[in-house]
Every structure is written in C-alpha cells, then in structure tokens.
Amino acid sequence: MEKKRKKALVKGNEAVAMGAIEAGCRFYFGYPITPQNEIPEYMSAHLPEVGGTFIQAESEIASINMLLGACSTGARAMTSSSSPGISLKQEGLSYMAGSEIPGVVVNMSRSGPGLGGISPSQGDYFQATRGGGHGDYRVLVLAPDSVQECYDLTMLAFDMSDKYTNPVLVLGDAMLGQMKEPLEFKKYQPKKFEKKWALTGAKGRKAQFLKSLYLDDGELTVHNWNLFAKYKRMKEDIRYEALFLDEARLVVVAFGSMARVLKSSVKMAQDEGLKVGLIRPITLFPYPAEFIRETSLQVKNFLAMELNTGQMVEDVRLSVEPGTQVDFFGLPPGSLPAPDVFLKEIKKVYPE
C-alpha cells in the first residue's frame, strides 16, 4: 500500500502529531482537552514506536514544565492544548522565553472566554502574539490554514524553535484540528543546530545552567534588549500567502481557519467581478507588517476579518500607511464561519 504511505486522510490534529514525529520530536507532554485530543492520542500510540516518550501530565502546568525540562537537555519535545489550557501555560512560556529554551507548543484554540465552547475561535490572537505571560517576551507564532500546513508548519516550528532558542507556538483552532484532508507526507530535512547550551551533565566541559533570573544592576535590562534583538531577527522568517492582489481594490486580511473560509468568499467575490484580494499572515509573530505596508501603497481599502471582536486588526492598523482605510468584521466564536456570510460583509465595505 505504497499509496497510503504517501498520502492519508487525516485530521489537522493528527497532522500536527505526524509532523512533530517526522521532525524528530521524541517527547510529548500533555493534558487532554477538546478539540486537540487526537494529538496526545496519536503521540501515545506512536511515540513509543520511535523510541520516544509520551507522558500524560497531571495538568497543563506540569506539561509545560516537563517541556521546559526536556527541551533544556536539547531534546525536541512538544506540548499541546487548547485555550484554557494554554492560559495555564503562560508562566512556563515566559520562563522558557526568558531562559532561551526552545520547545513547540500547539494551541488548537477553542471558544472563550472561560469554559466557552468547543467551536473554532481566534480569541487567543493577542495572547499568542503579545505574550500572555508576564514580561516582555514573544514567541514565534505559526498559523496553518490546512491539514497539510498543520504538518508542514509543525515541522518548521521545531526548526524555528531551535534556530532562535525560543518557544514556537502553532496556533490552530477547533476547525483545523478536527477537519480532515488528504495529507502528503514529506521527509523532514534535518537542519543542524549546535546546542552548546544543552544540559547534559558537566562531563568534559564546565558546568552550565539555564535560567531567567538576573539580579545584578542593569543585567536584566541588557538581557531584555538581547531578547528584543532576537525577536527582531525573526523577521527574516516572516511568512504569508497573498491571493488576487493584482488590481485589488479591497484587501482582506485574515489568518488560519478564517482565512481558509475566506478563500471561498474571495473567490466568490472575484467571480462576481469584485477586485478583492486576500493576505493571509502565516507567521502571526513576527507579523508581515512590511508586506502589508507595501500593499497599502497600492490599495487604500483593507478589511480585517477574525473570529473574535477585533484583535489582529490592530496589527493591520499598525502596519498600513497613513490614510489607508482599515475596516473590521468580527464573528466571535459560537457558530461556524461560512463563506457566504463573509461575502456579504466584504460587499458592504467594497469601495464604490
């Protein structure tokens, strides 16, 4: 069944797990929560097959701290959860960023606030892109919009994480986690990362440590600027997808599941002769601000669309050239997003 090997119909969650294992992830720590349970379930079944370890932790907090521990040794490891569970990981994330420890964290977000519901949502955008934890740190955020990207971007997440010795967040949602699509397997192309900082026991070298505590006068200031410089360097890995930008008179900006649904809406608009383009940021942090700015030199009307009451729209506003009109349409979670609904909204702001 060669065919089966190259392609399979799987959920986004499974694709994340598959991508992780393919990228050399050998340790997974997690705690069940809908709608991402297929990730731990897949990991529990398949990690042992490759000599890896799966732990169902007692909580999300334990999970992120096990991740911190495993990754401090230079191992590739992952944790995943969904919104409430990700909130609980914020302290740990802040520690990892502050200690410059890599690690991949997946948020298949659900609807909030609070217990909320299990429908698709983009209410965690701020938390993801601006560091929901304390202090001035960032994590690189990758936002897939298909099952294939769940796989590809998870592999990428491990590389980015090692490249920047910083946690990387894969931000999907209930829709991406639960939907199935044919997935084409790809061989991971291993990159070499020297991990001199890894804790492996002080054999044949000096003892070393990983920490985020800086108490000497001015030391932490320097540390924060160093981190800041690193976050700036991440700009070289900005990714986005652009559709129908030529001749566009209105550019819709959206990410993840919302962008996926909007691909239909924008197509419908094009079919009706409306010049509507789409920019889909794939890295949410760093944000493709420069590309949006350049686009806004040509197109004066932007529409940010999100499954929330308005978060990413701030990044669009911060990106565009002065004088650009940026509208917003939000559909907070609780119902499934559908292309015809959005087409209507697009028409409302389409410039005459």
Partner: protein, 182 residues
C-alpha cells in the same frame, strides 16, 4: 468538478463513519477533499453532523451554508439542515424515523429513504448509514462504487470478507434505491 454534502443524525447512527468513508474515497480518486465533523458535547447520543466538500480545485471553505446534497437521518437534523439545501439540490430523508408529512422543505429534490428497512433487506438493520451512502452513489457520481469499497478496506483496516460483503450489499441496495426509487 465540485460537490458538497452535509450528513446529519443522532450520534451513533454512523453519520461520521460514512462521511469519512466518502471523503476517503474522494481522496483515492485523487480529488481535493475536506471532511469536517461537528459533535455535540455528549460522547454518545446528541446530534452529530459532518460536511464533505469534493473538488478538482483547491478547496476554500470546508464549511458550507447551503449544501448541494444533505442526508438527514433524524428529525432534528431535518429541521436544521433540510431548509439549507440548495434550490436545485437533493435532500435525502430517513423515512424510517421521519414521516413524509414532517418534511416541510421546499426547493430541492426530496427523496424519502426507508433506510432501516432497506438495511434489514440487505442483511443488517444497523447499516442504515451505508444505505444512504448507496443512495448517494445512485443519485450522483461523486465517487465510484469500486473506490468506495477500496476506501472501506483502507479505513476499516480489515479485509474481513464477510464484513466487506455485507457493507457492499447495503451500499448496493442503497444505490439501487437511489437509481430506481425502490
């Protein structure tokens, strides 16, 4: 080629199973396909539905407001999804659980499918869902029967001849009903 479909019913009626099967078959025919399940909170019982989109081009939204075809296996699903089927679409109704006069949908072609009875005819009254899959094959050409069988083997991961045979019988019974209306 573009096709979309919503299948809905009680949890436990096998709604997700046939949705997944169909999507798998579409993949085997090298089409683009998306399959999107929606569960209620309950593990069992409650309602469940799934949306399948099949196309030769990249698929945008995996969620559809007005499907071309909808299969409704219980009353709540009829109420929710019946009215959403496209004007020129097709609505397959489980007449084993829904009476004709309960169907107030206007627009699409409506086919009442006595799925449980047909399944019993085919050898197992629990295969009502496979009957519907068959009807779909009888009414449309979204995938071939052969691919569907292949998909059945691959997704069940078993080559149990008997199991395969009985499922195939149910699909074929459904297909016949789909083609002939009886």
């Amino acid at each position: 080629m573009y096709f979309d479909l919503i299948i809905a019913g009680f949890g436990g009626q096998g709604v997700m199973f046939i949705g997944n099967l169909l999507a798998h078959a579409a993949m085997l025919e090298d089409r683009k396909v998306t399959y999107m399940p929606v569960y209620g909170v309950e593990m069992r019982g409650g309602t469940a539905n799934c949306t399948i989109v099949v196309s030769d081009e990249d698929i945008g939204s995996p969620n559809i407001t007005n499907p071309i075809v909808s299969i409704v296996m219980n009353k709540p699903s009829l109420v929710k999804f019946g009215p959403r089927v496209k004007e020129d679409g097709l609505l397959l109704v489980n007449s084993s659980l829904i009476k004709p006069d309960e169907v107030e949908v206007k627009g699409p072609e409506i086919m009442m499918v006595p799925s449980i009875e047909l399944a019993a005819e085919a050898g197992n009254d629990r295969l009502a869902n496979m009957i519907f899959l068959g009807v779909l094959l009888g009414k449309t050409e979204v995938v071939s029967l052969e691919t569907l069988k292949q998909a059945l083997i691959e997704t069940s991961g078993s080559t149990n001849e008997e199991l395969l045979a009985i499922n195939t019988r149910a699909i074929e019974r459904g297909a016949a009903f789909g083609r002939t209306g009886s």
